[in-house]
Amino acid sequence: MTRPLRLDAPVVENRDEGGPHRRLRLRVADWPGFEPGQFVMLSPGARSEAERSDPLLPRPMAVYRAEPCDGGALVEILYKVTGRGTTLLAEARAGERVRMVGPLGRPFPAPPPERPVLLVGGGTGIASLFELAARAADAAPVRVLLGARTAADLMGRGDFEALDLEVGLATEDGSAGRRGLVTELLEEALDRQGAASVYACGPTGMMRRAAELAAAQGGSCCHVSLENTMACGFGVCLGCAVPRRPGGFALVCCDGPVFAAEAVAWAGLP
């Protein structure tokens, strides 16, 4: 597993992507590389010369992608401004530094070549899938299904469309692609293609439905990436535990965030 770093990374850009979405690019010297589905912990806001202890906890953010850049890498995060931490993160300016710990977490397993790959993303969960899509594209036929309430919420849509693979869209208001839920697209794709490797990240209900559909389609396998509030991100606070099947708890940060769908106790998720 890649060895995580802790550093205060200079902000190269923190761009407005429309609506509540932002694209943050951090320069990270000796970045160890990462696997699809891994994440970093980012402390809210830019680091000031003066210490501030509120807000206290770092925020988990998927590594969207990382481009090599003189020795290190430009690590990219695609995020949505939802509360205090992300509001402060959005105020960080180029040249300022943001504390980062990572890469962390268990990645998505590489899709076996024999089966087609279906990626199902919703909301901010879309960000966790981009690197997987980019890498899987070479190995197996990949279809990306993205869903949101409305077109504007389709985070990173353009990046996926720029990849050499099929992208299906669904919005609840019909403003982009099919009017309806992304899981309806998944259902049709599974009917059409048969057994597939399904990877889902997004709202719990969406992932749960995706898992059911994959299970119903014999020979498919399904992996989901879960979210939970985190304090550390590397397995020491035990704060991110979610119930696992058949029993007990799993830590989202280090047993996950990626789990085989069968191991998830959906009813008990926060």
Binding site: D54, L56, F234, G268, P270
Partner: protein, 318 residues
């Protein structure tokens, strides 16, 4: 200003003898905030801190509370983990061997009855890598156990006595801050033969999620930690230090070396870094380096000379 004779940090003697355990420097990591130690190996060489206090252990493995277990508060965090742990036997068999040689390990013990506490202490006694025991008599978020022991002088006495009988290891007792008189609790521990007291554990607290109108934590009540509680911790350490002769391990909201120096001045011989480990996996190491730097810059060649040196006379303290 204490003649700021800038001397090289290297020249500071940082060793402390802490209730029967000798530490390279006075910085340990607080129970429950450092896992079983190995998780931090990617970030720094554990032999560079004074030692670690492992996650509290029970007789059998425990699986803890359902989510949500943690939440953020102003300059702090709330937790109700439910003392999830691998159990004393797995700790000895699997976790201890994973730690590098030369890191003093204090095993933290928690149970729901006195005899079970004693049994866990017994099983840890004689284990080569265990340098000492810390009785967690102060867990503010588990109905049974902790809270009663740490909040009731008589119960606490019974507990410490039993643990003292059960083990010859250096015995530290971790006190609850949720009491009227923490000095009295420290005296009880000293009276029953404890080698040191550690304080503070978390302050019992609660927060509400307005979106659901429920407590933010599944457990309803949780423990408050982090910088927010530091002034309460400093007060209690100061009160305990004036009440007992056994050494004190100061805990609560320590983020920097300067924070730790404040605890030493209030009478703590060593400190434990807790919540800060989450925000910054290098926190404990940086606290140890920060103490050494501060001592060097302020002309204290021996950290021991800082302990309890708070100038607390009213005259001119303004």
């Amino acid at each position: 200003m204490g003649g700021a004779s800038v001397s090289a940090p290297g020249r500071v003697d940082t060793r402390v003898e802490m209730g029967g355990v000798t530490l390279r420097n006075p910085v340990l990591t607080a129970s429950g905030t450092f896992g079983y130690g190995a998780e931090f190996a990617p970030f720094f060489d554990l032999r560079r801190i004074g030692g670690l206090v492992a996650k509290s252990l029970t007789l059998e493995p425990r699986s803890g509370n359902p989510p949500a277990r943690i939440a953020e508060t102003p300059s702090g965090m709330l937790n109700a983990i439910g003392l999830e742990n691998v159990g004393v036997d797995a700790f000895v068999a699997e976790k201890l061997p994973a730690l590098p040689e030369g890191v003093p390990v204090i095993a933290s013990v928690f149970e729901t009855e006195v005899d079970r506490y004693a049994e866990v202490c017994k099983r840890l006694t004689g284990v080569p890598r265990v340098s000492g025991l810390e009785l967690n008599a102060s867990c503010p978020h588990v109905k049974s156990g902790g809270i009663e022991f740490g909040q009731n002088a008589r119960l606490l006495a019974t507990l410490v006595r039993a643990a003292r009988r059960a083990s010859s290891l250096p015995l530290w007792v971790k006190l609850s801050p949720n009491v009227t008189d923490v000095a009295e609790m420290a005296r009880v521990c000293e009276g029953e033969g404890a080698d040191a007291v550690s304080l503070i554990n978390t302050l019992q607290a609660l927060d509400v999620d307005l979106a659901t109108r429920r407590p933010v934590l599944h457990n309803v009540l949780g423990g408050l930690s982090g910088p927010a509680i530091r002034p309460v911790a400093l007060r209690m350490v100061w009160q305990a230090a004036r009440a007992v002769a056994i050494p004190i391990c100061g805990i609560g909201g320590i983020v920097t070396g300067e924070d730790a120096v404040k605890f030493l001045l209030c009478g703590a011989r060593a400190v434990q870094v807790g919540t800060a480990n989450y925000l910054n996996p290098l926190a404990a190491l940086e606290v140890a380096q920060g103490i050494e730097r501060w001592a060097g810059e302020h002309g204290f060649p021996r950290l021991a000379d800082l302990v309890g040196r708070l100038e607390a006379s009213r005259e001119g303290s303004s």
